[in-house]
């Protein structure tokens, strides 16, 4: 389990456990500007979702990972393995949804492994459901196009191109390619995980969230409109929505200091 998901534990072994769950399209390295702030007084746990980053790609069973619950089960297995109690789970985007599913399961089982959640740019459902008056931000069509686009981006011919941008020599490109290790994704898995991530609807899971949570929402998030943040404020039990002044979908990368401050404030650790 520890090896399969490339689990990396750092920080203070006596501190409270904080587990970081990355989102679609990347891996645990996207937390690199946030985690150092917690290492002095927390046990920091990073891992790659099965099928992503440096995880064991052969463990990605398409049938099993057809539901996000499988990733939630993986998270619970990691928490058990490292014997976490009352842990803080920090999830970004689809990682937040995985954290919600895991927390609900923990409450059912009564293991007490998860204490609370910090949800960074979460979205219970990316597409608009007009009947329910839910503005998810995208039409289903766009999301299906994305899945197709993931196929386009892994055909191989693009490798033949010479450097296409100023500021990089051909040698550099080669070097980059050899050392490139961020956000590595198998094309087939990326496509499948993209489908599961963006075409899933987890509003009911959010509405029955069984753990206290903090939602960090960017005021200019290109993927999650403010209406979704308002929906969570009104519908998710025991949550507090904190709006960050940030653009894009990854505040932990663009405004890491603000994210750290909001998290510490929420955890009463200012």
């Amino acid at each position: 389990m520890i090896e399969r998901n490339n689990v990396v534990v750092s920080g203070s072994p006596q501190g409270r456990t904080v587990v970081f769950v990355h989102g679609f399209g990347c891996d645990q390295s996207m937390w690199r500007d946030v985690t150092p702030a917690f290492e002095a007084d927390h046990r920091v746990v990073l891992y790659d979702l099965t099928g992503m980053g440096q995880s064991d790609l052969s463990a990605y069973d398409v049938a099993r990972y057809d539901r996000l619950d499988a990733h939630a089960e993986d998270l619970l297995a990691i928490l058990t393995e490292i014997d976490a109690h009352n842990a803080v789970v920090v999830g970004h985007s689809v990682g937040a949804t995985i954290a919600v599913l895991a927390a609900n399961e923990v409450m059912t089982e009564g293991t007490g492994r998860i204490g609370e959640l910090i949800l960074v740019s979460p979205s219970p459902c990316f597409y608009t459901d007009e009947e329910a008056g839910y503005a998810g931000g995208f039409a289903r069509r766009d999301l299906e196009d994305l899945v197709k686009m993931l196929e386009d981006n892994h055909l191989g011919w693009s490798m033949q191109l010479a450097p296409t941008i100023a500021g990089q020599s051909a040698d550099e490109v080669q070097a980059d390619r050899l050392t490139q290790s961020f956000c590595r994704t198998d094309p087939g898995i990326a496509q499948h995980f993209g489908r599961v991530t963006f075409l899933g609807d987890h509003r009911a899971d959010f509405e029955h969230l069984a753990a206290p949570s903090l939602v960090l929402h960017c005021d200019a998030d290109a993927l999650v409109p403010m209406t979704v943040a308002e929906w969570m404020r009104d519908r998710v039990p025991g949550t507090r929505v904190h709006v960050l002044n940030a653009t894009g979908h990854c505040p932990h990368m663009t405004v890491p200091a603000d994210v750290v401050a909001a998290m510490r404030d929420h955890l009463g650790e200012v």
Binding site: S93, L146, A220, A222
Partner: protein, 454 residues
Amino acid sequence: MPDAGGVDRREVLVQLIDDAPCGIVSTDPDGRIQYLNSTLRKWLGGSPEVELKRFPDFLTGAGQLFYETHMAPMMRLQGFIREISCALDRRDAEPLPVLLSGVVRRNEAGEPTRFDYTIFDASERHAYEEELRVARRNADELAAIIRSSPNAIVRVDAGGRIGSWNAGAERLTGQGLASVLNKPIQDVIRLDARSAWFDEAIRDYAGSGEVVFEAQSALGLDFEVTLTPINEYNPTQTSVNWSVVLRDITQRKRAERHLNVMVGEMKHRVNNTLAVVSGIARQSLPKEHTPRFIARLRALAQAHEALAQSGSSGAELRQVLEFSAQEAGGAERFAVHGPDIWLSPQQSASLSMAFHELVTNGLKYGALSVPEGRVDVTYEWEDAMTSQEADTARRLAITWVESGGPPVAQPTRQGFGTKMIGTVLAAELDAEVTFDYRSTGFRCEIVFAPLTPD
């Protein structure tokens, strides 16, 4: 600084960037556009409002998702992205497929200050790639069909040397492709102890269609072998390749052989039965009747034998009528005139049944019911062939004429015999049958197209 030609060097550079054959866009680390060259403006449709916009806003919905979840994090983590395939969302036109590359510029402290992107029009590439994808999918599908076929499917060159072979061929021979590659197929798969079956089959090829034959392998398996030239467009290929398909028909051949044995056994039993009948006749009938009865029985047996022997390949029309003549009482009462006509097994069976009915009718009610009565059967080709008819098979007219019998009256209802003749011959031979109840004697005409002898 003006150069020798008096043009500002800086101005030249700006111009080069502005009308570069690719789109160039520069943003702040949050994606807000700071510079956009005219090539990209043109692609986006005239002069879009770019101020205060973010670069991902000009991508399709899918592109925005990919930008936020993958491209932007990648830019920050590794400092560049390369050749991402996505599409520009244009105002008044279809989305434009593009390839996007980006690099991060940093300040002295290493903080990202600017994201620069170059964008290439990929519409042609995109269309080509789509074609490739469809072709690959189709090819995969066909390959799967061939892979899982129980038949041995082999590709050989004009000299019969094996180029590829499927799992069916592997199962059949127990040999993998590697061990048979470039070996002559007629050496690898021995058929009928013929060392040159492939060469012979190619020689038999008529220039179109396929060559099909049945043969037995050295291991005792029966095969139906089909050879077809592989017609494909390939300008570098000077000689034709062949597909060779071997279908295991061992079971069918076994059944056929079994059937042949059964037919032989049947003939034998019929002959035995006829022998037993003549034995009984000899013992039961008054002496003066016995020789005549035995003769008829023997004629019947002979006719039966003749038919049974030629059963698989067909029979002569005369031979079929010979049998009827025996039934009718001999050649003196039953005359046959006509050329040599070869019938298929089915035609001879149907006609002999029809003639049997006609003879029976004649014996019961017609000319054959009295000693002076007789039957004349004449058959000839229908001569008058128009050019239109020349395409269809030539037709034969058989005329059955009874004479010397009791006066004939038009029957009030159709008997079983005539009904059967009409139905069977129409259905099996596509024949036209006419009955003519003349007072001087019954007549019947059967017109049909016999098997053309080759």
